[in-house]
Amino acid sequence: MRVTCTVNGEQHQADDVWEGESLLYVLRERMGFPGSKNACEQGECGSCTIYLDGVLACACLVAAGQAQGRGVRTVEGLGSGDELATIQQTFLEAGAVQCGFCTPGLLVAAHDLLERHAGPTDAEIREALAGNLCRCTGYEKIMEAVRLGATRRATAS
């Protein structure tokens, strides 16, 4: 089947999509967006986190056909051009990236948190990132990056 959707603001199309395929597979293998990672394919790790019509979701749990005509935003669409989004910049500065496999999903989830919550408490950050696993950092640097992101967004606005 053919699937057409908007990814990061541009129309994309994939042909010969298997009906049981996930949006994650379509994004990575058919549309050229390898940013979202595939680690568990069962919703547990969050490395495939994207926005679907502005709502945070695991792309591995969305059937390709369910994305037909919808708007998808991936980690590739957080920044603009060469300019990183605030949260991407603060992940770099805080040293929140080691192997980097969890990073795209965490960035989208953290981005969503800061869009909804200007000054999240540590408990709120942990809660918002509960669906994203990282096997490298021990999470402390990630917490720091999100706190820094919140502060920087507050001073910028």
Binding site: E19, E41, V55, L61, A63, Q68, E127
Partner: protein, 288 residues
């Protein structure tokens, strides 16, 4: 495989009548795992995510009609005051990503004994509304679960909505797991006091082949509160009452040992949750 994508409820029922073997998919948080791991290759997927009616809720004749496709995230933001027990249960489901997609209809469709919506729906005496081209029926939720991951749906039926009466008394939900997020419960318990009809509702999760009520415990507590005049004057709850209630809840379970916990631990944790839930609920009741 064929991907069927009805735009209306009527069309969905038509498609289900023609292809009773079609697997419905709403949020996909159960269905996609099965597909990704190739545990299951259905001939047809019936995508309900475009059926607008399913994603709505509304008050109706004294109850809330909760469309099968309303997500946990929306229950939390839109219905915490009207469906407190279900909202508490929704709060414990998965992660933000899962709560944004997962639905009560999907939880009922999967009918896992560990589904978190079930104890809350049981305690609230909810009704499940199901429909096929040949008609509509309402099933008391306690009769909806028919076996491990089995429910009362006929092959041509779909779940349309859940009907829940907003509470006249406090509701509680407790869940035991290894983490605060992203866990399938080891055991779970839902409680609702219904002072308008001097009744008590309970729901047990992950401690029997199906979610179930603890009927003896419900009867005992309702009767004790009546005998002691406590529904009216809302005095302190005798310790013996909460202990006996907890024992009866534990007696209603028939758990197994599995990777998440032993049967013994499940029974013990249920009695602890039942007593705590009752004390919390009773304290709420005395406050209002």
């Amino acid at each position: 495989m064929e991907f069927l994508q009805p735009a209306t409820w009527a069309e969905a029922l038509q498609l289900k009548a023609v292809h009773p073997q079609a697997v419905p998919i709403q949020g996909g948080t159960d269905v996609m795992v099965e597909l990704n791991f190739d545990r299951h290759r259905p001939e047809f997927l019936l995508d309900l995510s475009r059926v607008g009616e399913l994603a709505q809720w509304a008050p109706e004749n004294g109850h809330i009609r909760l469309g099968a496709g309303v997500t946990y995230a929306r229950i939390l933001t839109e219905l915490s005051d009207r469906l407190p027990g279900l909202a508490m249960a929704s709060r414990t489901v998965g992660s933000p990503q899962i709560r944004n997609r997962g639905t009560v209809g999907g939880n009922l469709g999967a009918a896992s004994p560990a589904g978190d919506a079930h104890p809350a729906l049981l305690a609230a005496f909810a009704q499940v509304e199901v429909e096929s081209v040949s008609g509509l029926r309402q099933i008391p939720v306690a009769e909806f679960y028919t076996g491990v991951k089995r429910n009362a749906l006929s092959p041509d039926e779909l779940i349309k909505a859940v009907l829940i009466t907003p509470p006249t008394g406090p509701q509680q939900f407790c869940k035991i797991g290894t983490r605060n997020a992203m866990v399938i419960s080891v055991a779970a318990f839902g409680l609702a006091l219904h002072p308008d009809r001097k009744a008590v509702g309970t729901g047990i999760g992950s401690a029997a082949p199906t979610p179930r009520r603890a009927l003896e415990a419900e009867r005992f507590l309702a009767q004790s509160l009546t005998d002691d005049g406590l529904w009216e004057f809302r005095g302190a709850l005798p310790d013996a009452t909460s202990r006996r209630f907890a024992d009866l809840v534990a007696d209603a379970a028939s758990p197994i040992d599995d990777v998440r916990g032993t049967a013994r631990y499940r029974v013990h944790s249920l009695s602890v949750m039942a007593r705590r839930a009752l004390i919390w609920a009773w304290n709420d009741f005395r406050r209002v």
